[in-house]
């Protein structure tokens, strides 16, 4: 255990750092990952694929660069209370242990694996909001194991945009607010470029141990002609998402139909009330009020949240990107094949 004086020292240092950054908040521009963290994330995600796993990122927040120097995996989640408490204990224990061996003891976000880039979920956003409460700068690193056997290092650093977070916090995801802020589905997530750095020692070791080979496994993977299974699954997911999107849209149509029906009911009611008031006036009685809050037809119908639709749209767009990307590569491969065939 670290002694309390040390812990206190650490805290005041942290405070000092945070006051400095508060004076000059610079936007997060780059996520700089250590090779160690990259390898650990990949190891964890690949070992458990296709199950989805998460873990914590440790590092330092240096101005506009967020350094991810280490990480540790979370155990698989089980859905009961006891396991939750266990998970929290595990996290504290791990942080304590890593601090003892001088690993950066500062949470900068978390990582998770995803299937074919389908990470845009409500849970992700909720986790983000949770993290954001405690740490000012946090990122989520998403790794897609399903794309690694195509020779692609599918590593992405994401954060939520500030404008989206504001709206989400204030429950402002209604049509009117979104229009006011001009927030569309592309403005939910922000991708941050990733830099990879290695210590000189690691670099020396790898250069020594790995002779400069003309080809590596990932070159073979990239030139593989069979991408059909990947494309098929992408399309399958895309179709599923389109169904989701149309059901989301139906929800809105239903809502607007209800709203317009309610408006016409209100109109009719007011018309009736006015006529009644006219006759009451003629009879010399007090007119009745033209608004009646207790009447159910004046109760506003709650507007469904736009969030779900926006997230589905985000997913669709990432599937489309995959399809376009892989199709583009397929053209390359096919023309390469053609060249080879003609040479013979």
């Amino acid at each position: 255990m670290a002694n309390p004086a040390q812990a206190a020292g650490g805290r005041s240092f942290l405070q000092a750092v945070s006051t400095v950054t508060e004076e000059a908040p610079s936007p997060l521009r780059v996520v700089q990952m250590e090779g160690l963290a990259v390898l650990k994330i990949i190891k964890h995600c690949e070992e458990f694929a296709p199950a989805l796993v998460t873990g914590q990122l440790l590092g330092l927040d240096v101005g506009s660069v967020l350094e991810v120097t280490n990480c540790f995996p979370f155990p698989m989640r089980e859905d009961d209370e006891e396991a939750d408490a266990d998970g929290a204990n595990y996290q504290l224990e791990m942080m304590r242990c890593l601090r003892e061996v001088n690993v950066d003891n500062n949470t900068v976000g978390w990582y998770q694996s995803c299937l074919l880039g389908s990470f845009q979920t409500v849970e992700l956003i909720e986790t983000f909001m949770n993290y954001q409460e405690n740490i000012r700068r946090c990122v989520c690193i998403v790794y897609d194991p399903s794309r690694s056997n195509q020779g692609v290092l599918a590593l992405k650093a994401l954060k939520l945009t500030d404008s989206f977070m504001d709206l989400y916090r204030n429950n402002g995801l209604t049509g009117e607010k979104l229009r006011e802020k001009k927030l569309s589905w592309v403005d939910i997530f922000e991708e941050i470029p990733i830099k990879v750095s290695n210590s000189a020692l690691v670099s020396a070791f790898m250069t020594e141990l790995e002779p400069e080979s003309p080809v590596s496994q990932c070159d073979f993977d990239r030139l593989k002609l069979s991408t059909a299974p990947f494309m098929e699954r992408n399309l399958e997911f895309l179709i599923g998402c389109m169904d989701d999107l149309s059901s989301e849209q139906n929800k809105f149509q239903y809502y607007y139909r209800n709203v317009s029906r309610q408006q016409s009911q209100q109109q009719a009611w007011i018309q009736k009330r006015r006529q009644e008031n006219m006759s009451r006036k003629a009879a010399g009685e007090e007119p009745l009020p033209e608004e009646d809050p207790s009447n159910p037809i004046f109760k506003p119908i709650p507007e469904p949240s736009r969030l779900e639709g926006y997230l589905v749209t985000n997913q669709i767009s990432s599937y489309c990107n995959h399809i376009n990307g892989v199709a583009g590569q397929n053209f390359n491969r096919l023309y390469l094949m053609k060249g080879l065939q003609e040479e013979d």
Binding site: Y90, L153, S197, V215, Q217, C320, I323, D344
Partner: protein, 301 residues
């Protein structure tokens, strides 16, 4: 509470460490078929912990996790550092830390068990026998991995040992460390691409097309090299090597042979499939943007 290990008898302190390199003929019988395989993440972690070692420490040690493959190969897949203290004649190891960390790792991946321990530095030192004794109590026949982070011999040497005690009756003569073959191919890291693991800084991760481009460039340089070699052999500038010749002929014949018409059909079908996919995805994108426009229009009501 740290466990302090000191040689119990005075005789033990003097007991020498016998180190056998794997090539020595005497060793062949001793180490049956034991060998080890190390993943890149282990090397990375050891280097990182060495960089972050406490100010006075000369070396770092830690536990190796992994599994024993059916053929007896020890596959080292993970590792963590264990704080320790070393002085002239005793070694203090933080055993609590070791057990806590193992329990935590075990929660994440129960398949990874203790297979041995590592130390930085070249070769096996006197303190190592004590630590090795401790790990022998944790697991049967642990392996000992040494990573020469100081490059004392001018190269990156990573070696694996197994140990046995040489004793005569009750008297311990020496700890015998036998080097075993070590596979450092790091297959899992190959998937990532060594480019990002070798350089000290990489400004940008390669995207799909960058990767494709570099792969095709590599392919071009390789086929050019082969052309050059074949031409040289044909013109007698280079002595022919049957092995290489067979390899080239195997590679060439591995190409399936199509008639021109069949290939054209296959090729065009594939191109059309891909075009259809691109078309579909553009259509979807258009649909999304129209849907968004319509939704905004609906809000105007």
């Amino acid at each position: 509470m740290p466990l302090v290990m000191a040689p119990s008898e005075s005789s033990r302190a003097e007991s020498p460490v016998l180190l056998f390199p794997s090539s020595s003929s005497a060793s062949a019988s001793a180490s049956a078929s034991a060998s080890a395989r190390v993943e890149a993440v282990v090397v990375f972690n050891i280097c990182d912990s060495y960089v972050r070692r406490p100010a006075q420490a000369e070396r770092v040690i830690g536990t190796l996790l992994g599994s024993v493959l059916p053929d007896g190969t020890v596959h080292v897949r993970n590792t963590y550092v264990v704080p320790h203290n070393e002085s002239a004649d005793q070694v203090a190891l933080d055993v609590d830390y070791h057990h806590n960390m193992y329990a935590s790792h075990h929660k994440v991946n129960p398949k990874e068990v203790i297979v041995g321990w590592f130390s930085t530095g070249f070769g096996v030192s006197a303190g190592s026998t004590l630590i090795h004794e401790f790990y022998s109590r944790e697991v049967q026949s642990p392996i000992h991995l040494t990573v020469d982070t100081g490059f004392t011999r001018g190269d990156a040497s990573i070696k694996a040992y197994i140990s046995s005690n040489l004793s005569l009756g009750d008297r311990q003569l020496a700890a015998h460390f036998q080097e075993i073959p070590l596979d450092l191919r790091m297959l899992e890291a190959g998937k990532v691409g060594f480019d990002i693991l070798k350089s000290t800084i990489m400004e940008k991760l390669p995207n799909d097309l960058d990767g494709m481009e570099s792969s095709i460039e590599k392919l071009c340089t390789l086929s050019n090299a082969i052309y050059r070699y074949v031409d040289d052999v044909v013109e007698g500038r280079v002595a022919a090597d049957n092995k290489i010749g067979r390899f080239i002929s195997d590679s060439v014949t591995s190409m399936p042979k199509f008639s021109a018409a069949a290939f054209d059909k296959l090729f065009n079908d594939k191109i059309e499939d891909n075009l259809a996919l691109v078309y579909l995805s553009s259509l979807t994108r258009t649909q999304i943007s129209i849907a968004e426009k319509l939704n905004t229009a609906a809000q105007m009501l």
